[in-house]
Symmetry: C2
Subunit: 508 residues, 2 copies
């Protein structure tokens, strides 16, 4: 006889992390692959999570003065050709529209017809097409700053894809701004970097390191790329959001010029910044366990699921009514400024299947309520951040009085747990041999080591060990991991001077 | 010397309606054309309007049990080929992706490379690609109904485009549902038809006629298409939303089958339904006047704009502070269940330019506040549904106490005005010669006339007069225009029996 698995997800994280990830996505019903190569279907539970992320981010963008707009899906090939590094970065992986109709091929099928004079690229990012609009919108210094955000789909023809983490089509937001001065554009780049870090930590409960990308890892065409870097449970890094200072590269390519107070023409300074559905992959890999998805309460599509246990009840309708009343009462309670989101699951399926279904979907609080609970005016509660076996009876009123605090506690527990994991898997390294040993085989986490700033040195390490510089951390960004300030030292590869330690890791 | 124009928009509606429309869109800063043929840029004011429409519709969809999801942008050519009428309807106007990268063409430019084995079509609508997912998701009758909605961009390669009304790329929502029985699918089709009518009338303040499309005007592949039809101020009809009963056509094409309680395999019954950014065109053409856009308060990005008049004030800061306090107080007032949306416009531009800017943007209530108003503890108010010259002083507290009712009154006024206009431009017609005369040249509105149901008769009228059957109205849908119930009669073209009068009009 087959032994019953101890956990809901097989394989476990320890057995096969990439397979575990795919199974968590599937078991939580978040997304699936489609027949279109590399394109995913985001299922209702996954999309509801994305909507919650969007709502929070959208408010943060609007609170910092940005307005949403929408720009064309297609980019003329000639636009892409205007910025050399940019096209170099994206030409190898873009969907190209060459025809504008299908016609009968004479064999019962269809063939492309109506060839376009100029091919169109499905946007992999929108600097060029938005830049073309900005060039029209900006005349005087009074028109600046322009602070625009777009929620959109983009396409990058990736050859190896994984749900959420790397797909040919994905959903994202892209902020695009233009400013009169270099300093304002730098400030904007830093501000959005900070917004992303706050979103990751305060809402996703995912600790991140803020820093700058080394030169060879910058966005194609950017002068500077800032990123937030998170540690997944396999100890690899995930780049979770980027904010780019574009200097005048794109304003020169697209002609974004303004007349200053000095009556002279000047090129604007621009930025761009984005996060995508990739964040969902990061959320999964930060918190989930061998029983499936664990959702941070602030972003969970449902905070509480109520499961009436009616199959043995004398009066099933009374139990159901008790549950319905509780659901209504819960909706009057607020958590994080919003009414508690409740699912009442009265489907006619086996109790075990139902309970495990919600465990795998990651709902923060599960309630099972049968006749006896009703008689005691209580609920039988489980928290997703604890073992599925840890369930306890709680008085109904006490539950209502404390549910908001319980959700806050779960949110906090997830964040602290992730921070502890990151601390346990980060190491200060002062010698090359120790560095190589740290990353040998499947091993390694974040290495905090000095580097002389030479791109060739970094590329050699990448070739040899598949380890990259995740970022040159901001002041204070890794002090907790270092146990003190990030002070100057000597590059562990060259012995040359290094201004500060940088973060090295294997990465997604 | 040039005579000053009497209105903010030139030409006026009477002078040149299509040009007036373009100028209203431009003056309100809603959208503009891009360099990509047929694709528009939706500017912040237009996008904020779309976001408000989305929020209301999304809630209506969720309240009727639908969940959002996201499906691939691309549709394999072979999918489209599976439903004969569907492909016939869309093949002539679709963007076709044939390559997945660009490479150097040897002349300093780029050329498409990496030809795809199978071309992909950018979705013109998603019945086929969503049907492919539904086929995977549905196994048993317990999996039904499936009630899904998607917010997305779609592409139809239109040759003649107009901002919002007809563009190559547009934004929309598409609902897709699958049901176990024909009746449930019919009920869903009717329910969403009703949701669209409520949205148009209660939120857009745009009266609509609900009805069914005649056979030759149905969605390609549909068994029945229901629509809502609105009258624009040039007396032409605009189809503003459609709900399709698809029978088993798409479930057979894509294999959406379920095992019933009878243990037998059955094909599901499906529906689809959508509204798009075209609604914005309908909103503009229903309410706006020769001074520009008029926004129904329920959807307006700003309900109230406050313009401090400080240039002659002894203490400009005091006037500004008075305005800021008023803005804060206004945000405590609710209208239609939400805090009042306020813009405080303290830009340093001429007063006349500023005021006319907000007139053209259609904000329901404008306040000009100078030193004297502050001294009187009052505001100087204008309503966008009245003449720009009708301004009046109102006590500050009285204004705060009544602003919500004033907005409700504006919303109602716009709806009643549009209904009156439609009634004045609809006519019961009982003879062919009168019908032809009614539509001669540029004339005509809605004609309510009997028709025997023959498609050839309808097509002949379309060829001769450019007049189409907008819909076969639902019971009661045109009783107010008829002054009584829609009773049987005789076709005015053939003399044959007709079950009820249908609605004829020129159309967008
Ligand atoms: Zn310059
Ligand atoms: Zn069948």
């Amino acid at each position: 006889m087959a032994k019953a698995p101890k956990n809901a997800i097989s394989p476990t994280r320890a057995e096969d992390y990439p397979q575990w990830y795919q199974q968590v996505v599937r078991a939580a019903d978040l997304a699936e692959t489609s027949d279109v190569r590399g394109c995913m279907v985001i299922k209702p539970w996954g999309y509801a999570l994305w909507e919650n992320m969007q709502a929070v981010l959208d408010k943060m963008f609007k609170d910092t003065g940005h307005k949403n707009a929408y720009f064309p899906l297609f980019i003329p090939k000639s636009y892409l050709e205007k910025e050399a590094e940019h096209v170099e970065g994206f030409a190898k992986e873009c969907a190209v529209v060459t025809h504008h109709r299908l016609e009968a091929d004479g064999e019962g099928g269809l063939k492309p017809a109506g060839e376009l004079e100029e091919p169109l690229v499905v946007r992999p990012t929108s600097e060029m097409i938005i830049g073309a609009s900005f060039a029209k919108w900006v005349e005087s210094y009074r028109d600046l700053p322009l602070l625009i955000n777009q929620w959109a789909n983009v396409v990058r023809w990736e050859m190896r894809t994984r749900l959420f983490l790397r797909t040919a089509e994905f959903l994202w937001q892209e902020g695009h701004t233009a400013h009169a001065t270099e300093q304002e554009a730098l400030d904007e780049t830093a501000q959005m970097h900070e917004v992303y870090a706050r979103f990751a930590e305060d809402f996703m409960a995912m600790p991140v390191i803020k820093g700058a990308k080394p030169e060879h890892e910058r966005f194609p065409g950017a002068v500077d790329t800032l990123s937030i870097e998170a540690m997944m449970q396999d100890k690899k890094a995930l780049q979770a959001g980027t904010s780019h200072f574009l200097g005048q590269n794109f304003s020169k390519a697209m002609g974004i010029e303004y007349q200053g107070e000095d009556k002279q023409k000047h090129h604007a300074w621009t930025t761009s910044w984005g996060v995508s559905t990739r964040l969902i992959g990061g959320l999964i890999m930060t918190h989930s366990d061998d029983d499936g998805l664990i959702l941070p309460p602030k972003l969970a599509p449902a905070h509480v699921v109520i499961m009436p246990i009616t199959f043995k009840a004398d009066d099933p309708d009374a139990v159901l009514a008790y549950c319905e009343k509780l659901a209504e009462d819960l909706k009057q309670v607020t958590y994080d400024g919003q009414p508690i989101r409740v699912e009442l699951d009265n489907r006619d399926i086996r109790g075990g299947e139902k309970t495990w279904g919600w465990v795998k979907k990651g709902v923060p609080i599960r309630l099972e309520i049968g006749q006896r609970d009703m008689a005691d005016d209580s609920v039988f509660m489980a928290r997703r951040d604890q073992s599925p076996k840890d369930k306890a009876g709680v008085g109904r009123q006490e539950f209502l009085d404390t549910v908001s605090d319980t959700l806050a506690d779960i949110q906090n527990t997830l964040f602290e747990r992730a921070k502890t994991f990151r601390a346990e898997n980060s190491r200060v390294i002062n010698a090359r041999d120790k560095f190589e040993n740290y990353f040998k085989g499947d091993k390694g986490g974040f290495a905090l080591a000095h580097w002389n700033g030479d791109v060739e040195v970094a590329k050699k390490i990448q070739d040899d060990l598949a380890v990259t510089i995740r970022c040159i951390p901001d002041d204070g960004a890794i002090d907790d991991l270092l146990g003190g300030p990030n002070e100057p030292g000597k590059c562990i590869f060259t012995g040359e001077p290094s201004e500060k330690r940088v973060v090295w890791s294997k990465a997604y």
